[in-house]
Amino acid sequence: MIRLEKINKTYFGAQPLHVLKGINLHIKEGEMVSIMGASGSGKSTLLNILGILDNYDSGDYYLNGQLVKNLTENQAADMRNQLIGFIFQSFNLIPFKTAMENVALPLYYQNVNRKKRNQLALEYLERFGLKEWADHYPNELSGGQKQRVSMARALVTHPKVILADEPTGALDSKTSAEVMQILREVHQTGITMIIVTHERGIALRTDKIIHLKDGVIENIEINNPETIDFTQEIK
């Protein structure tokens, strides 16, 4: 599903910063992997490149068999919209839209009509147990609820890949466990999932942990998440 070949990325600031130094990575369809690394290791940059939010200097990135390189803004927007679902640490819900409208927003940019959009959004909210909260605004929801809304928003377009940037970073351990359980369930429907985290407890619940250090992949740790009880709190 995702193949990175010799990806290099340098930020040219006051002091050029070589963030990614030749990343080679292959993530198969339906895999659930986590990316770990200290701050400054390049994990956010990698996620941005994977999410077509940022471009890279050299190398090749294939997403769903397509080469992602030198895309126009419009092509990038289309690919993001159709292939990728984003889950952010700070949820990034639009404050003046209800839960339902937030979930429906990606469909608006696919020109899905309003009625169908809202109906689909409701279905996804129901799936995450938030049907009664559909008309509430983000500031009326708890952290866990907000993250569930943002997961519904990420999934409503049937993406191939979910990119989650510290999805539990703003949540307590109990809620984190709930969110991870949901992500696991979502993954079991066949969606490829990439989670950036610095919590080992979270990373252990994925199939593979990619350890990033100073812009290179240090090692890849294979987990056996089936042994973990997902209902348990994360330590």
Partner: protein
């Protein structure tokens, strides 16, 4: 793009910050409102002014005699002279562009109350004119008729009373036609009552306060002789008076052995120049009004643009998230432009409606005021100006949105996420 969905999406963002949207929109509202009110008020004054001169034909010239200032053909300078009725006839013959021409003269009485009817009396101007005079200084005939050709030919002792003369001399509702009124000691039969269109523009006293006699009758009865010292003429619209004034005067000078270069013996003035000055004045006022109105509108637009820029900055994260979940640059531009367009158009239309509404009320109040002398009438904006104002509002809405929209598309999805 302008489906209901799009408008809902835009409206949501405008409505989310009501106070700010209202304050932003107020600038545009005020600009258009002022433009409408000022422009309507300008029209009101122009209409009022034009009503004042309603009875006056613009292409009118007045000619009057004085003593000569140059010796000529053996005559000394400083000679007194007068025109005769034959001069008027000669002018009519020589210049086919003359639509109406009439001499005018007044007689004065030593008595204080020169007009008497029964036990009533009053002091009024007594003017002698030709029938054509009614086309030069127009009056409204309220009863009876104006002086006619037969009155002139037969030197009839008839008179036309001004409105005020009638109300002073007669009981309310009393029919004056056929009654005998003593004017400067001589009885004249009343043939009509007239009132002037306006009190503000008149020739030698308002018709309202005058007794009008046939010119020839007056010359005969008051022993004035065949002397004319003042006449007025109206030329057809294709012949502007300033072009022909000199020709008219030269013909008269020639007939009376006056030096062609004599500038004092006969003098003239015409209303064309005055009307032109009026027109120029109102043209200037209208230009001023549009400059002020558009200037105010412009500052409103800059206000909208400014606030939108701040809004875009504030919404960096929201716009970034929209980009991340699939919004194209086109979507973002459309959104910002539409927000600005909707806000300014709504504000502009409200300003237009309230302005027109207020001026309609003002127009109603002023038209119900009884005074004939209103310098203010029908303060309404022309439909053309209203359409123009609407187009300006819509264009300015787009204009106001351009800068913020350009700023908005520079926001990349990554910026929103980095902002954490």
């Amino acid at each position: 793009m302008f489906d209901f969905d799009g408008i809902h999406e835009i409206w949501q963002t405008i409505a989310r910050n009501k106070t700010r949207s209202l304050l932003t929109a107020f600038g545009v509202f005020w600009g258009i409102f002022l433009l409408v009110v000022l422009s309507s008020t300008g029209n009101g004054f122009e209409n009022g002014m034009m009503k004042q001169v309603e009875g006056v034909t613009p292409n009118t010239g007045f000619f009057f005699t004085s003593t000569t200032s140059e010796p000529y053909k053996g005559y000394q300078k400083g000679r007194s002279w007068s025109m005769q009725m034959s001069d008027i006839e000669a002018l009519k013959e020589a210049f086919p562009f003359i639509k109406a021409i009439s001499p005018e003269a007044s007689v004065y009485s030593s008595e204080d109350k020169n007009v008497v009817y029964g036990s009533r009396s009053g002091s009024f101007t007594v003017k002698g004119v030709m029938p054509e005079y009614n086309e030069i200084e127009k009056s409204k005939i309220m009863k009876g008729r104006f002086i006619n050709e037969t009155d002139i030919a037969a030197n009839r002792k008839v008179c036309l009373l001004g409105k005020k003369v009638y109300t002073t001399m007669f009981e309310r509702g009393e029919n004056p036609i056929g009654k005998m009124v003593k004017v400067n000691g001589i009885y004249f039969q009343v043939v009509g009552v007239a009132r002037s269109y306006t009190d503000n523009v008149n020739i030698n006293g308002s018709i309202d306060e005058s007794v009008i006699l046939p010119f020839t009758t007056m010359q005969q009865v008051f022993a004035l002789g065949d002397k004319i010292n003042f006449f007025a003429l109206v030329a057809d619209d294709d012949t502007p008076l300033p072009d022909i004034e000199e020709d008219v005067m030269q013909l008269i000078k020639q007939r009376h052995d006056i030096a062609p270069t004599d500038k004092d013996a006969i003098r003239s003035f015409n209303l064309t120049e005055i009307f032109k000055a009026f027109k120029g004045l109102f043209f200037g006022i209208h230009i001023l009004i549009w400059i002020v109105g558009l200037g105010t509108l412009m500052s409103g637009i800059i206000g909208v643009s400014n606030i939108m820029l701040v809004t875009v900055k504030e919404r960096t994260r929201e716009i970034g998230v929209r980009r991340a979940i699939g919004a194209k640059p086109k979507n973002i531009i459309t959104q910002v432009l539409s927000e600005s367009l909707l806000l300014t158009t709504l504000a502009g239309l409200v300003g237009l409606c309230i302005g027109v509404g207020i001026m309609a009320i003002v127009g109603m109040i002023t038209s119900n005021m009884p005074s004939d002398n209103m310098m203010f009438q029908d303060p309404y904006m022309s439909f053309k100006a209203a359409v123009l104002a609407t187009i300006i509002v819509i264009l300015s809405g787009l204009l106001a949105g351009i800068l913020p929209a350009l700023r908005a598309i520079q926001i990349k999805a990554i910026d929103a996420i980095r902002e954490e």
